[in-house]
Symmetry: C2
Subunit: 195 residues, 2 copies
Amino acid sequence: MAFMTENPPKKPSKSDRTRAQILEAARLLFAEHGYEGTSIRDVAAHASIDPAMVIRYFRSKDELFARAAVVDLKLPALRVIDRNAIGETLIRRFLEIWEGPASGPGMAILLRSATSNEFAAEKLRDVFGNQVRPVIAAAADPADAGRRAGLVSSQLLGLAMCRYLLRLPPVVALSHDEIIQNVGPTLQRYAVGEA
Amino acid sequence: MAFMTENPPKKPSKSDRTRAQILEAARLLFAEHGYEGTSIRDVAAHASIDPAMVIRYFRSKDELFARAAVVDLKLPALRVIDRNAIGETLIRRFLEIWEGPASGPGMAILLRSATSNEFAAEKLRDVFGNQVRPVIAAAADPADAGRRAGLVSSQLLGLAMCRYLLRLPPVVALSHDEIIQNVGPTLQRYAVGEA
DNA sequence: TGCATTTGTCAACGACCGTTGGCATATGGC
DNA sequence: GCCATATGCCAACGGTCGTTGACAAATGCA
């Protein structure tokens, strides 16, 4: 067997480069065209490699998608957030995640395929259950953290859909300041506003 | 040529029934599994008919999808809406569209496929440009109606995604009253709130 | 009853898909 | 240089897809 999946500390071997190229091409294409709209052959062509190699490095298309669709929102630690600025904090982090240089296209990959691919949908539900909900739960009564996190998610997810996937012109045209000033208060009310 | 597409006033002929059955099956499946996830053979099986008939009645899968993806939000006429209750009016109509018995699955069809099918995306942009925007434009300064309609759309589209497509549990659990009380004020502010 | 038109079934086509196994080439330790 | 291994290409498989054309059954008018 020729796979040593877990960290062998030193080995930037030849294969690791192509492996990374394949994964990068896959993340790009999955983010842009979704799971069904991206073929193994497309990924291979983008990585300048034979389709068979994609299968050799990742065992199947499903496994490749799973490797490509990892998301870490890196939301601010629970106690660092100012309760009175949680709305602004969330929307600022949102813009970094979707437009900042550091973050990859992980969320785009999930959101693009979540409507027609159950694995992506489940993964997206996990993100909001394990990464968004805890932040809200730490800032307000944990009893209705689910309700509040759900409302926050609906606004953020809708904004992402309109701005980055559907590319609704007036939403694309919004400046960062406009988004912060308009959506920030909404999130603030959803997260910690009156019951 | 055997198609008389435009109203021949009296003819509930045999074919019109199967034609309707095919369209109904298509709307159901497109709404549930999206464009790429629904095959002509699936539609035919659901309509208890041969796949070739689907092509004979509608000329191609694209044309079938176009016929299935018609949407009329039937938003209240421009001057009937109370400016101070436009948020509540919009969210109530939203719930009727998505859960009421009268409205079909038109929006679900569009939203389900909009992330991976450019035709559906364009159609959805049309809906918000031709049906949502005018309502907002009539209620506030038409100059920034685009911005306001975009914000309204982001919230409504996100709520639909979370509740009906992604089925995020805490959002599914929301009662109609909770939705109206929480999302209504958001839409009110987006539509006519302070600049 | 005859016959033309409609309505439906069946088999097959070419294309694309994910995936596989065999075979060539390059690499790197001995 | 020798050879095991890693890396890569190629051709093909079985399957599903949208779509087509030929043919059978039903329908309705003369």
